[in-house]
């Protein structure tokens, strides 16, 4: 927290796209190299600016998906069908292209290893992205408090980072991932196909006596419902950090 609060002026920097990969049918991860990147904390975001040949430009905010790094920034971007920028980033951009970014931004919805508390992560849809940065940061950290991830997603094919999450899932080593499907589940799925509800959180959540820190990220309705349920179950509001996705992620 202390480090993220010490920000100088945030300048626009030229980022080069080094690699792209699909994240299921609705999203794509862009790997960027930013030469003067100051580093970031898991959960922060960047502002990204794209400019047309006639000078028209547009800015959006995107959560950073990768663990802290000196020069590499990964953005996992969901293609919004009525969007102006996300279809360009998810469909048109290729390796070698240049974009402008500034950041990192945000000092609240972040996780760093100097926070010793156990962590509950609750993500809805593309709200998984900043939580994935935290999961990845934990896996590289020297101190690894217990993490639990509850990932609510409409259908199995929309899961981002599927193979990596499966590889990291290791309850004995303190990282547990649970999926909640809200429209359709894989064959043989025994859990209800439904939105996150009180019964699930009661069963899944960490005991309040452990004073876990909760990070909740997703669409507004998801975050409102989920954060309220956590409060109902006795988790103090000040231990629940939220990031609500309107049309974009991040920030106040």
């Amino acid at each position: 927290m202390a480090r993220t609060a010490v920000l100088g002026r945030l300048r626009w920097q030229v980022a080069t796209v080094t690699d792209v990969r699909d994240e299921g049918p609705i999203a794509r991860t862009l790997g960027l190299t930013v030469p003067d990147w100051p580093g970031h904390d898991a959960g922060q975001h960047v502002d990204l600016r794209v400019t047309a040949p006639d000078g028209y430009s547009a800015q959006r905010s995107y959560s950073i998906a990768n663990a802290p790094d000196d020069s590499r920034v990964e953005l996992t971007i969901e293609r919004l069908s009525d969007g102006e920028v996300s279809p360009y980033l998810a469909d048109v951009v290729q390796a070698g292209d240049m974009l402008e970014v500034r950041g990192p931004i945000g000092g609240w919805f972040v996780w760093t290893e100097d926070v010793p508390a156990p962590v509950m992560l609750l993500g809805g849809g593309s709200g998984i992205v900043p939580l994935m940065a935290m999961v990845r940061a934990r896996s590289k950290a020297s101190i690894r408090p217990p993490f639990q991830l509850l990932y609510s997603v409409r259908t199995p094919d929309l899961v981002f980072f599927r193979d990596e999450l499966a590889a990291l899932h290791a309850p004995d080593d303190g990282f547990d991932v649970t999926f909640r499907y809200t429209r359709s589940a894989p064959p043989g799925w025994s859990e209800p196909v439904a939105r996150i509800d009180r019964a699930l959180l009661q069963r899944w959540g960490m005991p309040t006596a452990d004073h876990p820190l909760a990070y909740v990220c997703g669409p507004t309705g998801f975050v409102e419902t989920t954060a309220n349920l956590l409060v109902d179950l006795g988790h103090p509001p000040e231990r629940i950090r939220t990031e609500r996705f309107g049309p974009t992620g991040g920030g106040p």
Binding site: T4, S57, E84, M98, W108, T220, P237, I240, G246, P252
Partner: protein, 199 residues
Amino acid sequence: MNIISRGFSGRRRTVDPQLPPGQYLVEDFPVLSAGPTPRVDLEAWELRVVDESGRAQTWDWKAFRALPNEDVTTDLHCVTKWSKLGTHWNGVSVDTLLADFDTAADFVVASSYGGYTTNLPLEDLLDGQAWVAYAYDGEPLAPEHGGPARLLVPHLYLWKSAKWLRELQLRSDDEPGFWETLGYHNYGDPWREQRYWGD
């Protein structure tokens, strides 16, 4: 100055004069908050103004709603880049709330149920520039948008318009609030694109 993005053409070909730099238009009303939506019971709700000498005035809900109120139509600009134009509110002008205060304060810290704070120059809250709003589009203000009542300072980025308002503290010195200590601009003028420290 900008780098051209190969293959990007954009959708809007003319610059909308109602949109500050770097903003884009939305039709919905996004919600952005740092934590759970506080539950504020109207029976227990109160709004307090306290000046730099410690003199305070408090309104309960009934007294607050008995104050003269105004219809406000205004544009909203969020630092996360969305803007919403022509929104309709009902609220009590901050001028009305401060009418009985004779203050030399230059700054205000607005505090919310739930612990949020934000700081503003007092002059930005005066002369018909700011309200404590309790209705949006003719309906009671929804909790996720700051109900029962929120500060509305539409000429600054929306994080300055503290939701779930509980207190306005008039101060001689400037005390940066929640986002202002986390890298966001101390003043937050959208027309000068003052998003972050140093902008």
